[in-house]
Amino acid sequence: MKSIRIVSPCGMLGYGFPKESFDRAFMQEIHGIVVDAGSTDAGPHKLGAGVSIVSKRAVKKDLEIMMGKGIPNKIPIIIGSAGGAGAKPHVENTLAIINEIIEERKYKVKLAVIWADFTQQEIIKAKQKGKIKPLSENIPPLSEEAINETPSIVAQMGHEPIVEALNEGVDIIICGRAYDPSPFAAIGIHSGMDAGLSYHLGKILECGALCAEPGTTKDSILGTIYENSFTVESLNPKRNCTTTSVAAHTFYEKEHPYYLHGPGFALDLSECRFIEEAPGIIKVENSKYKPAPTHMIKLEGARKIAYRTFVIAGIRDPLLLEKVEEVEKEVLAQVESYYPEIPKSDYKIHFYHYGKDAVLGKNEPATFNNHEIGVLFEVIAKSQELASSLCATLRSTYLHYGYEGRKSTAGNLAFPFAPSDVEFGPVYEFSIYHLMEVDKNPFRIEYMEVGCDGKVI
């Protein structure tokens, strides 16, 4: 019976994994080593600022182990959403690390880079043709102004360009932003396996061993696709896959439990069966791939909206804790009146009360009965200078504010650090999170052969 085996070393390139788990996969034939490197989980800053969420050092450690198995054994290695956000600077950083390893280890490698970047002009054109719509009801329609303010725009690729690169017989594929399961699905689809099974397996493998018990993104997992089913199993004897753990993982971080939208298709998992085929080996069948009537890809873009300066302090005085929101309102009014020349629309001030309601905000249902809180206040303003000036006034006003009934006339805040004010830098927001209709593969593939001197041949 034909079977295609894919190993996922960990849930995020640079998170690390036990080498013994990964090595255990190679006691049998492996057809692909695939790792996801991306996520929007950490917010818009990575895409906006062109930085990574994991260190170069950690990415290199993981890649050395993966390339150590993949290159000599001619097993394709695929990296999805390189560098986190999968835009040009992220992909280039990953490419530089790979080139460094090639040079150090004296490999000779055929590489494919699949770019996921789009220009503002391309997006404006698509918008004018009516090809763009918001992804959910709480996202505003895309404006040309938002596009013009968003220099960094990527789209999530499907399996198509990755399969095309696999057809060229490359050793390593570095994908820009990809739909998380697509690089995994590409291995199965390239080998002629069912797209529904390939994608559902990809959805499970992209998080590493999170679908096992105990679950973690920092360990390896093995998936095998057969003609009418796939199986998942842990590569670490300390973890075990169960029907519940695998079925539950299908749920993870998606808006719907059994209907998943991907680029150009939907995955219907409503009829899926999860069966324990052997101890720790979970078989899944009936995952269905349904091509969408129009091929839509998901755009992501981040724009800089402001600059932040913030302060962390503690409050222990029960008289202040009793009326902290009221006092903050008065402090805020005093800061505003000190700067009448600055329009209120140029800045925003937020207070967070850790120990009270910092996480859920005004929706916190629990009543407060603590003796201490951590207060974090931030000023978000048009420039760093403005944010820091306002924050300094806010901090000194709050520290010395003589609220009604105060006994502690020396100061209201306990600062853990000196200096107390932290300049954070720019703040971003997801200004584009929309679907774009395309009629042909818009992702550009670049092939390169890199010799042992790390130079492109």
Partner: protein, 105 residues
């Protein structure tokens, strides 16, 4: 009468994209799952009340029998990581579910 966190195997929240948060309630036994499903405790109305939001902010509320689980997806008031957000990963938004009372007696 039991609290939801006592019955569920997994009770978690996470971003589902930067504009939504999704809540998962998962069970490790059929009986507890069926008990919750039959109790009619988890509805758009009860979730809206627990989170102090409008029912129209709840985009999905789905029972999925093969996984013994319930998924609830809600609109985020502030998108992940933008100014004013309180939970970038959306990972601590499950707490209001934990004390929901399930079952009779």
């Amino acid at each position: 009468m039991a609290k939801l966190y006592e019955l569920a195997k997994v009770l978690r929240s996470k971003n589902s994209g930067p504009f939504e948060v999704t809540l998962d309630i998962l069970f490790d036994n059929q009986a507890s799952y069926e008990e919750l499903k039959a109790s009619n405790t988890i509805t758009k109305e009860t979730i809206a009340r627990a989170y102090n939001i409008k029912t129209s902010d709840i985009h999905h509320l789905v029972f999925f029998d093969p996984a013994l689980g319930i998924k609830i997806t809600m609109a985020r008031e502030v998108s992940s990581g933008s100014a004013g957000d309180r939970d970038v990963y959306g990972a601590q938004q499950h707490a209001p579910l934990m004390n929901i009372e399930v079952g009779g007696e």
